[in-house]
């Protein structure tokens, strides 16, 4: 982290960048929040640790409109979102100075809580430099510990790899943390009967409180005005007439980001109700992989998008229909 701050200071001082986009400590030890730093002094608040899961790519949509370059800290998986936004002309590459920051997996406070660890005061072992195998957690009930890997975010268990897809410079070491099958859960749901599937999603989605956190954090959900907020489509009003409108919201959202979702996992990370929203997107990704060949959104800015580019080898709609 110190090296990162040192470099940020240099770039601010020599005028390469006008501001730094990173994280600062939150009110609790495990909730650092995205923040802009526009002076070397303000960098005193800069943090980067195992809880800095937030994907900062989306902030560049607004940052691209500001004067001067913005230094942005991107983890390997965040760079896919950055590329996807570049592809969609939503951000300006020339307005960003990308520092690829090292990542050895990011932590999920909910997983720690689920282990029965409550009243957390301090967590050590989550710092970037010495991401330890074990986390030591001091709580109001005394000291507890757990394995780092057990406390990782779901997305880190299906890590896309330690390589940054785009960067101006790299700082810090990364580690691939994949230890699970990305599509196992999707396959489990696919095997359900239609009734079971409906029950599963009804159960999960009925928890939704429509806080819109998933939408607001999603780098693919970057429309200037969301269709759900627009009075142009009569969809805003429908919220009131359908008792189960959330399912439509999430399903439509999944369709809107299909083929563009990089599977960054932010939707599930920020959901206050713990809904596994990434499963919708991952179902689409699995289907796209099967129908059009393996495709990772955001890997290559110039790659053809499977759903919006036509090739003569494309699967016929009938085949898609047969498979369901």
């Amino acid at each position: 982290m110190q090296e990162l701050i040192k470099r940020a200071k240099e770039l601010l001082e020599d005028g390469t960048v006008a501001r730094v986009l990173g994280w600062k400590a939150g009110d609790l030890p495990y909730n650092p929040e995205p923040a802009y730093f526009d002076s070397t002094e303000s960098l005193a608040d800069f943090v980067y640790n195992g809880f800095c899961g937030a994907n900062l790519s989306k902030y560049l949509i607004e940052a691209s409109k500001l004067e001067g370059k913005t230094l942005v800290c991107l983890k390997p998986c965040d760079t896919y979102s950055f590329n996807q936004l570049l592809k969609e002309h939503r951000i300006d590459r020339d307005k960003a100075y990308v520092i690829g920051v090292g990542c050895k997996g990011k932590l999920d406070i909910e997983r720690i809580r689920k282990m029965g660890i409550k009243g957390i005061e301090q967590i050590s072992g989550a710092e970037m430099e010495d991401a330890a195998d074990t986390l030591t957690i001091s709580t109001i009930y005394g000291e507890r510990s757990c394995k780092f890997a057990d406390a990782m975010l779901e997305r880190c268990h299906v890590c896309k790899g330690k390589e940054h897809q785009v960067y101006d410079e790299l700082i810090g070491e990364s580690k691939e943390t994949k230890d699970a099958d990305r599509f196992a859960e999707v396959a489990r749901i696919e095997a359900m009967t239609p009734e079971e599937k409906f029950a599963f999603f009804q159960k999960e989605l009925s928890k939704c409180i429509r806080c819109n956190a998933c939408r607001n954090v999603c780098p693919a959900c970057s429309c200037r005005k969301c269709v759900f907020d627009s009075n142009k489509f009569d969809s805003a009003q429908k919220a009131n007439v359908d008792s189960f409108e959330e399912k439509m919201f999430h399903i439509i959202r999944a369709f809107h980001v299909a083929g563009r979702c990089t599977d960054c996992g932010e939707c599930s990370r920020v959901c206050p109700q713990g809904i596994p929203l990434h499963l919708f997107n991952r179902k689409f990704i699995k289907d796209i992989d099967e129908f059009y060949g393996e495709y990772q959104a955001g890997m290559d800015v110039n790659a053809q998008s499977p759903l919006t580019d036509f090739t003569f080898g494309d699967v016929e709609p009938g085949i898609v229909g047969e498979r369901g």
């Binding site: 969609e88 002309h89 429309c223 200037r224 005005k225 627009s230 489509f233 969809s235 980001v257 563009r260």
Partner: protein, 662 residues
Amino acid sequence: MQRIGVFVCHCGSNIAATVDVKKVAEMALLEPGVVHAEDYQYMCSEAGQEKIIEAIREKNLTGVVVCSCSPRMHETTFRKAAEKAGLNPYMVEIANIREHCSWIHKDMEEATKKAVILTRAAIAKVNLNTPLKPGESRVTKRALVIGGGIAGIQTALDIADAGYEVDIVEREPSIGGRMSQLDKTFPTLDCSACILTPKMVEASAHEKINIYTYSEVEKVSGFVGDFTVDIRKKARYVDMDKCTGCGVCQEKCPSKKAPSEFNRGLNTRSAIYTPFAQAIPNVPVIDTDSCIKFKTGKCGVCSKVCQAGAIDYTQKDEIVSQKYGAIVVATGFDTIKLDNYDEYAYSQSKDVITSLELERIMNAAGPTKGHLERFSDGKAPKEMVFIQCVGSRCADDRGKPYCSKICCMYTAKHAMLIRDKYPDVNVTVFYIDVRTPGKNFDEFYRRAVEQYGVNYIKGQVGKVIPQPNGKLLVQGSDLLDNRQILKEADMVVLATAIEPNEGVRKIATMLTASIDTNNFLTEAHAKLRPVESPTAGIFLSGVCQGPKDIPETVAQAGAAAVKAIGLLAKDKLLTNPCTAQSDELLCNGCSTCANVCPYGAISYEDKEVNDHGIRETRRIAVVNSALCQGCGACTVTCPSGAMDLQGFSNRQILAEVDAICR
């Protein structure tokens, strides 16, 4: 609020027998905005139209719903009626209660329920309709014909004779197509080349016809009346202007091992070649895959012997971009590959051949100079077996489900010609049915049987087994005699199914012309618009639309020409006002719409917008309404809903869905 009139058509008994039309009108009156509803026996009749006009005038209607047949049938009729009464024609909506309802249902109660729902949806849509005004577009008075076979040549001649410029694009080094490979033609047995070559010469000499041979369509953009087509003129390595067609280069070319495409690979040709003697243009091309100069850099014999100095090894492919008002597809056919029909031993024996190969063998300019002989040992055959429907009328996906239509007749022709020239050769034909519906066709077939003693056996062949003695053992069944047949033959001829030429899918995609599962181009209406593609400005000529013999092909080629001429004769076309528009405040500038637009109608520009007080320059999608065909691909791909289609707006469609689900 609109003032909507609903008009329910009985269509005689077509609708009224299955749908309670009075009930539909009654229920329509309950819908918001509806001030008038009635039913009538034939809404499309003069009297029916008068009812609509009267109601519009008397009740000051602002919108009309006609519950009748498909809008493809009478939408224009009703729009014109509305216009006559002073209403904008785009304020008319059709609820299709015939094709979508009465014709496909039996239960009156259920069908009526559905008709009411369909009507409700149309009413919900009209409530959101706005008057639209069509624009105008110009017509480029030039036609493109893709394919230089008999279909393409005939179409081009007919269009050119009407006074319009025509370009023919032909993939091969010469025009002429499949017909140039045929020996004789049924049912008159005149020589194919003798009747085709005058047409080829006429086309090539016609002042309005320009022929691009050895060329392919590379890219198509634009729309009816105003297509822009890029044509790739492949490098011939021979200067078309200098070459005198003397043929010395072909004689002297030391590389003579390339299989002759024209002779179906039955013999070889030189690396520099014209496909056949009467080729037009009579200018050879160099096949770089077999040319020694291109492979090793050493040779150059053709260049040395060419008195005209026409050989140019540095020639490059050339792209010609040209504007056209109409495009005729005449891409023709080929025989299917026989990989799925191993039982006929085509790949195992040289003496099992396809009918098209037999055409070349029978032809005086063919690989055997017209002598019927076995390719294995050069001996004259004594027993010949013809097998019909190889790959045609196939129930599984090994072959084609359709009848190739020409095989019965050409097999009768082959059988007759062989019996005529070689009376000592026995000819047996295995068939499923003999289909001879055409002028003088059945007489022709009967002559083969009765006068020439061709042995027709109803039944299929299960297997052809090459024997150690060089003969072919044909195992078939005789269904009329109900017995198995084992017959030794010297040669077996397979009436191989025909299929649209390779590459037609690519051309159809470029033209956005629809294509069926067998790769035949689809006509706009199977009965009433058989030579037009559903895509405006695209016409179909010859076998690319379905199997045909030569007379039918020529007739259809003429029909396609007339349709093209009808289009080219117009100075201006009214454009469809149902085009897409981008809401600049909602547009993200992501380019997805431009990516999916098949017409290249969407571009992007940096535009200053005022978004509720925020002034900024944004990347915004802009639709060229002259290019937009209103397909709606952009509207469904746009994540923010910024793209909307006039006349089919997102709100209108959702209103219809809501009305149906209500």
